[in-house]
């Protein structure tokens, strides 16, 4: 089976600042990978490289064996914050429809299939009752769900999410993770977050990113891995438990 994503020796620098160094990452189809790391560690940049939005300074990026920018419609992206203007006059349904617009030929009208895909995507994130609401009138968590539906409307084979639970309450966050868990049956998912406790309960594999990537193709996070990544002492969280278990503090 062909790898969903393969990064070999990817470097990224902007000006004289190195953002990412020697990133090697192989993602198999239907993987569910969580990438954790400190703010400014290059998490968003890594996603943008996979999406083909940001060309790496050097190295190779393959998505289903082809260069990243040729695969745009097979990769769905859920950004952390969308830049859109708050009072943009557009309904939830029309926002989700944007997931289909790249497929369109110039003169073609919206097909029945497109409409059905959009309705299903909205249903999947439980936003059906809000579909004619203006996007600016929604809460942070509702907006986040709309952005997920917009990415789902692309029918992506890979879904990239940037801090999907950063602006939502715990309950909504849990719903988001359960939805992703279900989607993972057919979709490869990469999720970026600094929220280790939530991430570790759902993802199958974890990578740590702070300029360099530490990835063991498993769900194990060791204290050393984290301390390397965060460059400071870190409390480790136990997997599979609903509450955090902390190391004893030395003082």
């Amino acid at each position: 089976m062909i790898n969903a994503i393969q990064l070999s020796d990817v470097n990224l620098s902007i000006g004289n600042t190195s953002i990412l160094e020697k990133i090697n990452l192989t993602v198999q189809q239907n993987d569910f990978i969580g990438i954790i790391g400190p703010n400014g560690g290059g998490k968003t940049s890594l996603l943008k490289i996979i999406l083909g939005l940001l060309p790496p300074t050097s190295g190779r990026v393959l998505v289903f064996g082809k260069s990243a920018s040729h695969n745009s419609s097979s990769v769905g992206y859920v950004p952390q914050q969308s830049e859109f203007t708050k009072d943009f006059p557009i309904s939830v349904w029309d926002v989700v429809m944007m997931g289909r617009v790249g497929e369109k030929k110039i003169f073609s009208r919206t097909s029945k299939d497109d409409k059905q895909i959009v309705d299903e995507a909205i249903e999947m994130v439980s936003m059906s009752e809000f579909k004619s609401k203006t996007i600016g009138h929604l809460s942070g968590g509702q907006k986040q769900r709309v952005l997920i539906a917009r990415a789902l409307a692309m029918k992506p084979k890979i879904l990239l999410l940037d801090e999907p639970t950063a602006s939502v309450d715990t309950k909504t966050g849990q719903n988001v993770y359960e939805l992703l868990n279900k989607l993972n049956e057919t979709t490869t998912i990469i999720l970026v977050s600094h929220d280790m406790s939530a991430i570790s309960r759902y993802v199958r594999k974890i990578a740590c990113l702070n300029k360099t990537l530490v990835y063991h193709d498993s769900k194990e996070i060791t204290k050393e891995m984290l301390e390397d990544t965060y460059q400071c002492p870190v409390d480790l969280i136990a997997h599979g438990l609903p509450h955090r278990v902390l190391d004893e503090h030395g003082d």
Partner: protein
């Protein structure tokens, strides 16, 4: 009371207002939702270089304005594509460069330069039949492109980055949008002039964005508002013997303030009802 309708120049002015409001309401809506008022100002002022060139070489200055504003649209799109960090500085530079170039060109023209003020501040009463036809053509171009590419243009004004991930040719669409803005500016120059064009492009849409749920209805209301501002301004300037361009802008600015007050009251009463 309607004796002004007997004058040809007034009929021309009313026709021009109608044509201008179409371009203004449609393109102004994109400018407001994408928050590119400053970029629009840059394109408008750069056009002055083309007006100067027209005077110097003896062709219609509006043709020169089309060339220069399209050039500015291309420059801005190119910078954006390269992710230039100094975009705002370079737009300011382009803005001043275009104006200065226009002034220099005009200083080389021997003798008196007629109508110069009308390009800067507008004079709707001097619009000629040829210019009306130019406006008709530019309006047709704008309406056709927006009708055909409505969804695509909406997608890039809403969220450029996501639009790119769906495979839309974002750079080309962005250049197209900039070019539409450039063309619209040319349509408006004779009415309100380069310096005031920014108000007529932004104020109608800045009002209608508060009261509309969709981009199409926003455009429609913006067109009506722009038309109302122009006609009211035109009548006031006729009866009170004031400069037309500035009077139109005054009407627009005070309408914006009024709308802001109404909008505030509207939201307060909604909250009150809860």
């Amino acid at each position: 009371m309607l004796e002004f309708l007997e004058y040809d120049f007034m009929l021309n002015a009313i026709t021009a207002s109608l044509l201008a409001s179409i371009a203004c309401g449609i393109i102004g809506s994109y400018i407001i939702v994408k928050r590119i008022v400053f970029i629009t100002g840059g394109i408008a002022h750069t056009a002055y270089g083309g007006i100067g060139l027209g005077y110097l070489l003896g062709f219609n200055p509006l043709i020169g304005a089309v060339g220069f504003s399209l050039g500015a649209a291309g420059f801005i799109s190119f910078m954006r594509k390269r992710n230039n960090e100094n975009e705002d500085i370079l737009i300011g530079l382009m803005w001043a460069f275009g104006m200065a170039l226009g002034v220099l060109f005009i200083s080389f023209v021997p003798g008196y330069v007629p109508d110069l003020m009308s390009y800067l501040f507008g004079n709707i009463l001097t619009i000629s039949g040829t210019e009306i036809w130019l406006m008709v053509i530019l309006d047709l171009v704008i309406v056709t492109i927006v009708a055909v590419l409505f969804k695509q243009l909406r997608a890039i004004t809403f969220d450029e980055e996501f639009a790119q991930t769906t495979g839309l040719p974002v750079d080309k669409l962005y250049f197209l949008l900039m070019s539409l803005i450039a063309i619209t500016i040319v349509v408006l120059i004779k009415l309100v002039g380069i310096i005031l064009v920014i108000a007529l492009l932004s104020i109608p849409s800045a009002i209608s964005v508060k009261f509309n749920k969709g981009l199409k209805s926003m455009m429609f209301v913006s067109v009506l508002l722009a038309l109302a501002f122009m006609l009211v301004g035109l009548l006031l300037s006729y009866y009170l013997n004031l400069p037309s361009g500035s009077t139109i802008i005054m009407v627009a600015v005070f309408s914006y303030l009024l709308a802001a007050v109404i909008n505030k009251y509207r939201f307060n009463s909604k909250n009150f009802a809860k």
